[in-house]
């Protein structure tokens, strides 16, 4: 239970086409992450899956059943929102209980599920409080708890961590990962954050302007991006793109990740001057202005001392260099 299939889903708001034909298969128990630039339609797709928005055409199937005319509450889903969206007039306990009460679940069963969820998310001390009396992290945990008690086939998360501070984000991320392991439920998760996507996902779906650019495991996307967009989107710092003509290559663009470049003070493929150096402790990012390749980023593991203005030679790892054709697709 808990598989999802999306067939050629399109969504338009008036004349504006936001989703331009999405096909996707999510298997039972999978953790799927949607990533993409702002405004590419991630939330819209999630809302179509939830039934909060009708698709203009196409079908959504949950467990093989077409849910096009099923209201959100009957789809066996639960959703966690970026803004928490807790009911301000209800206590934490009642926030979690409302959906179950609405579905006519017996009181004893509601009690049991709330107990399990609140233990899982360490919410016990707050059960009688109202949302206004909780911190941001606690609120988000309540929102997750509200989803958990429904025991849904499918969890939908819309950027659940983006309103939290960095430390809390790491903690809550871990909690979500543990939750997935424990419940073995299917989860769909929307995020802007590279790290969240790479660490949580079984499968990442890269969206751009209402289309799916590529679907694959984090390592597949990192190691063999299908096109320039995915190559640039996955990985941080971003991949260097160099005009093929400047390097005397037939491919339109040459891509090489900052971590796949080595530098040397005396010799190498591309001669350049250091523009700026960022020292992060564990690694160092160098910005080099190269004669042949233009401005590139080089990521060096560990500490590397380089003064701005110094001359360095950068050499790409030939095995890990990507060649993109005129249509942006990877050339084999």
């Amino acid at each position: 239970m808990g598989s999802l299939k999306i067939e050629n889903v399109k969504k338009a708001f008036g004349p504006v086409e936001v989703l331009k034909g999405i096909d996707l298969q999510v298997n039972d128990g999978e953790f799927v992450v949607f990533v993409g630039p702002s405004g590419c339609g991630k939330s819209t797709l999630l809302r179509v899956i939830a039934g909060l928005e009708d698709s203009t055409s196409g079908r959504v199937l949950i467990d093989g059943a077409d849910v096009s005319v099923t209201p959100p509450a009957k789809r066996g889903i639960a959703m966690v929102f970026q803004t928490y969206a807790l009911y301000p007039h209800l206590t934490v306990k009642n926030n979690m209980a409302l959906g179950l009460k609405q579905a006519g679940t017996p009181a004893a069963e509601i009690e049991r599920r709330i107990k399990i969820a609140s233990a899982m998310l360490s919410l016990d001390p707050y059960l009688e409080r109202r949302p206004a009396e909780l911190s941001g992290g606690q609120r988000q945990r309540v929102a997750i708890g509200r989803a958990v008690v429904r025991e849904p086939k499918l969890f939908l998360f819309d950027e659940p961590l983006s309103n939290l501070d960095a430390a809390l984000r790491v903690n809550t991320r871990l909690e979500i990962a543990q939750l997935h392991r424990r419940l073995k439920a299917t989860m769909i998760y929307v995020t802007h954050d590279q790290v969240e996507a790479m660490t949580l996902a079984d499968k990442i779906v890269v969206l751009n302007a209402g289309r799916i650019e590529q679907i694959g495991s984090p390592m597949e996307l990192y190691n063999s991006p299908a096109n320039e967009f995915v190559a640039g989107f996955i990985g941080s710092p971003k991949m260097n793109f160099i005009d093929g003509a400047r390097l005397g290559e037939t491919a339109r663009t040459i891509g090489v990740r900052p971590e796949h470049l080595t530098v040397d003070a005396k010799s190498g493929a591309w001669k350049g001057t250091v523009v700026h150096a960022e020292h992060l402790g564990a690694d160092t990012n160098l910005y080099l202005d190269c004669e042949k390749a233009g401005l590139i980023t080089v990521r060096i593991f560990g500490v590397y001392n380089a003064e701005p203005g110094a001359t360095l030679y950068a050499t790409p790892d030939a095995a890990k260099t990507y060649r993109f054709g005129a249509d942006g697709k990877v050339l084999k």
């Binding site: 809302r47 939830a50 909060l52 209201p71 959100p72 509450a73 009957k74 889903i77 639960a78 959703m79 929102f81 970026q82 803004t83 928490y84 969206a85 807790l86 009911y87 301000p88 007039h89 409302l98 959906g99 609405q102 579905a103 509200r146």
Partner: protein, 279 residues
């Protein structure tokens, strides 16, 4: 009080302006109330002095309570105001919710149409309204007044409330939908409590013109049975002799109910004004 943001001269200046304004605004009200406790000679002899033992007289109040059925007029006014207010708020909020929440063909046009009433005074349609009421046999009923006042209050209510409802978090409504709440429950339990300050504002703006109106009671419901307070007070306003004691007493009494309603709503109002600032 922090000294960084306030200086003494500024504070004094601000208070001086506010106090002056308060005095100007309250002066007529105080004058009315004061003189309502004076004898006729007292009112004309020294209108600006408070009642003294010599001029103190309750003749106005005894006239009001003795003559005409003032308690009944009060009741009429209250019924009309509260009922109209209820319908304006209910239908206004519902229409505003529909306009702000659902995308349908002609949404914008419908919103404009509903807001048009703000700019067109309803009194322009008096003749047509009267014909309508005569045809439907509603002349001299409170229902007629309630219908007219509901129509009169709706445009502004819809306009203000739909702006506020647009600001209610979509996520919250969607969370409700996923939890299986009906659209009605979402409207009454989630959205309405969040726009309560706006509702209070609308309530005050709607209530006062209705309570004070003379025009429609005079035209649509002048019978003894359906007279409102403002109309009832006209009883003492003759072409040759005016019973000032009674008029002032009636007006003073008429202030009370609106004052009470206003106090109820203003608690919400103040919360509304500060809610955005201290989040």
């Amino acid at each position: 009080m922090s000294t960084a943001t306030r200086s003494l001269p500024r504070t004094i200046g601000a208070h001086a302006i506010l106090i002056t304004y308060t005095v100007i605004a309250l002066f007529p009200v105080i004058l009315v109330v004061m003189n309502s406790f004076k004898s006729r000679a007292g009112i004309f002899g020294a209108p600006l002095t408070p009642p003294t033992t010599k001029t103190f007289d309750l003749i106005g109040y005894t006239t009001v309570f003795g003559q005409g059925d003032f308690f009944h007029y009060f009741q009429n006014s209250l019924v009309v105001t509260v009922a109209s207010l209820f319908f304006v708020l209910l239908f206004g909020a519902m229409a505003a919710f529909a306009l702000s929440e659902y995308r349908f063909r002609g949404n914008t046009l419908m919103g404009l149409y509903l807001a048009l009433g703000i700019m067109i005074p309803i009194r322009l349609g008096t003749v047509a309204i009267l014909q309508l009421m005569v045809a439907s046999g509603l002349v001299n009923t409170l229902t007629a007044l309630i219908l007219v006042y509901t129509a009169q209050g709706l445009p502004l209510a819809i306009f203000i409330l739909s702006e506020f409802m647009k600001q209610v978090s979509n996520d919250l409504k969607n969370a409700g939908r996923i939890d299986g709440l009906s659209e009605y429950t979402i409207f009454f339990r989630l959205v309405l409590p969040l726009v309560r300050p706006a509702m209070a504002t609308v309530a005050v703006f709607t209530m006062i013109p209705i309570w004070n109106d003379l025009w429609f009671p005079l035209i649509l419901a002048p019978s003894e049975e359906t007279k409102t307070v403002t109309l009832g007070a006209q009883l003492f306003l003759g072409q040759f002799v005016t019973n000032w004691n009674a008029i002032l007493a009636a007006l003073s009494l008429a202030i009370l109910p609106v004052l009470i309603l206003y106090v109820i709503f203003s608690r919400q109002l103040i919360r509304g004004i500060t809610s955005g600032a201290v989040k």
